[in-house]
């Protein structure tokens, strides 16, 4: 694998082997005092973030460092980006400075794909850490890792993704990955928060959360992305919360084994009630923990093999 740009087109065998690698890494590091592997010694990984992030950036940095890569963080604010340098020039600069892998987050959909094209000559790998409203593949992979861990399997499981589908890159990555892994995905959202063309996705669509809950193995809640909303998508936050927020009563409608996921950051009281977020049914901190191992696995699959020409 040269780049990880999207889960669309990621076949089941490749996805499963990344998840298996993450599992084995987790087991290899379990209970160890020294959480350091020599695998990526001498490789340079640069995170290039044009949007704010806590968990994605931190977990990529930890992942790289635990595998002994040199990790350098570049954010738009503290770099020449604020002087007006283009994405292309910034990327070429990072490649020329010796980056083996650039992990990029950008507000424009498709930015990671463009970057991969520009860096093809330099041989630098690119990981998409979120591009606009397009994809966030490592988030979907870590969600799948968490679901597999909690449920034992993904094949045939019924998984609802609830909330701001329109603005969410997480949902696009999850739909492609979960359906490739054989899950039955249902999107639950008000009509105003569903994108045009959703009928062509490999999912079923519902507007009624309560009707779906009893048949679910997992529910994944999405943050309502106020920063990407210009205009009235729903009457009020309170009304959204009443219709689509996961509270304790709704948790009670789900089967005993069903788990609750949230990619974070959470808006407690909006899409998820505080009591639900802190309940043992929620796998939200597991997602973050698995995120580190999963991102180690992605770096391993991108960097620990002979050069490929792509």
């Amino acid at each position: 694998m040269k780049h990880l740009l999207s889960t669309e087109g990621l076949d089941r065998a490749t996805a499963t082997s990344i998840l298996d690698t993450a599992d084995n890494l987790k087991r290899a590091l379990l209970g160890r005092e020294v959480r350091k592997l020599p695998t990526l010694r001498g490789r340079t990984v640069i995170t290039l973030f044009y949007e704010n992030s806590t968990r994605t950036r931190v977990s990529f940095e930890i992942a790289g460092k635990w595998m002994s890569a040199d990790v350098i963080n570049v954010s738009a604010g503290g770099s020449s980006v604020s002087k007006g340098e283009s994405l292309r020039d910034t990327a070429l600069t990072l490649a020329a400075a010796g980056a083996d892998c650039v992990i990029v987050r950008h507000p424009a959909s498709g930015a990671a794909h463009r970057l991969a094209g520009w860096l093809a000559q330099a041989g630098t790998s690119v990981v998409n850490a979120g591009d606009g409203m397009h994809e966030h593949p490592t988030q979907a992979l870590l969600d799948a890792a968490t679901l597999r861990e909690r449920l034992g399997s993904i094949e045939g499981r019924r998984i609802a993704i609830v909330g701001d589908v329109l603005h969410s890159r997480v949902v696009r990555s999850n739909v492609h990955l979960l359906s490739a892994l054989g899950a039955d995905v249902v999107l639950v959202a008000p009509p105003t928060l569903l994108p045009v063309g959703v009928q062509n996705w490999p999912v079923t669509v519902s507007h009624e959360l309560d009707a779906e809950l009893p048949s679910l193995d997992a529910v994944m809640l999405l943050r309502v992305q106020a920063e990407r909303m210009h205009g009235g998508f729903f009457p009020s936050a309170r009304e959204y919360s009443i219709a689509y927020g996961l509270n304790e009563n709704r948790l009670g409608l789900m089967p005993e084994h069903a788990v609750v996921l949230h990619p974070g950051p959470m808006l407690r009281g909006m899409e998820i009630a505080s009591a639900v977020a802190d309940s043992p049914r929620a796998a939200i901190t597991d997602q973050v923990r698995n995120g580190v191992h999963l991102r180690m696995a992605v770096l391993y699959h991108l960097l620990a093999h002979e050069e490929e020409t792509s």
Binding site: M1, D20, T21, N24, A28, L37, Y300, H305, E306
Partner: protein
């Protein structure tokens, strides 16, 4: 299928070095040697741990532990140690899948660790295993048991227990077959 004559070359260019019976006898002999050399059944015995290197070192370690229990009455804990993340040749081939690492209860600190692998060749796997062990703790000592030593060492490493020494050329391939993976036991030269 009639059992093949040992040493005979079959049409596929395979030569049998050890039959299933030979493998069983060899494992039993190695178990005796481990008991003798480590004195693990003595009153002041050191705590011995067998760590198999996946894939085929793992079942070999379990078989050795069974034989050691049979001959000495001492239950020796076993574990598996995947060394993939410590290899020095990762960038010389396609992505290698990882195998499972599982340490026995109590870990390896202050214990006598016997690494178990199927074939000893360049010694690079064992070099990686020594590095991996160091990250898991500080054994009292480390020894090495291999079913086949085929020579061609590239590092100053030797085994403490050898099932069979096999002179080979570099272009040949020694394959250890184990029931757990291959449906039968044996060692063949290709």
């Amino acid at each position: 299928m009639a059992p093949r004559q040992r040493g005979a070359t079959d049409p596929a260019g395979e030569r049998e070095l050890l039959s299933a019976g030979d493998v069983a006898r060899t494992v039993a002999r190695m178990a005796h040697q481990i008991i003798e050399k480590t004195a693990l059944d003595a009153p002041s015995a050191p705590a011995v741990v067998l760590m198999g290197i996946p894939s085929r070192g793992a079942p070999l370690a379990r078989r050795l532990a069974l034989k050691i229990a049979e001959f000495s009455g001492v239950d020796v804990p076993t574990g598996t140690l995947d060394v993939t993340l410590y290899r020095d040749d990762l960038r010389r081939g396609p992505t290698r899948p990882l195998e499972t690492t599982s340490l026995p209860e109590g870990g390896i600190d202050d214990r006598l660790v016997v690494l178990v692998d199927d074939v000893l060749f360049s010694g690079r796997t064992i070099r990686a295993a020594l590095d991996a062990l160091r990250d898991h703790g500080r054994p009292r000592a480390v020894q090495l048991a291999v079913l086949v030593d085929r020579g061609h060492r590239e590092l100053p490493i030797r085994a403490d227990y050898v099932g069979k020494n096999v002179p080979t050329s570099r272009t040949e391939d020694v394959a250890v077959l184990l029931d757990e993976f291959d449906g039968r036991d044996g060692v063949v030269l290709k």
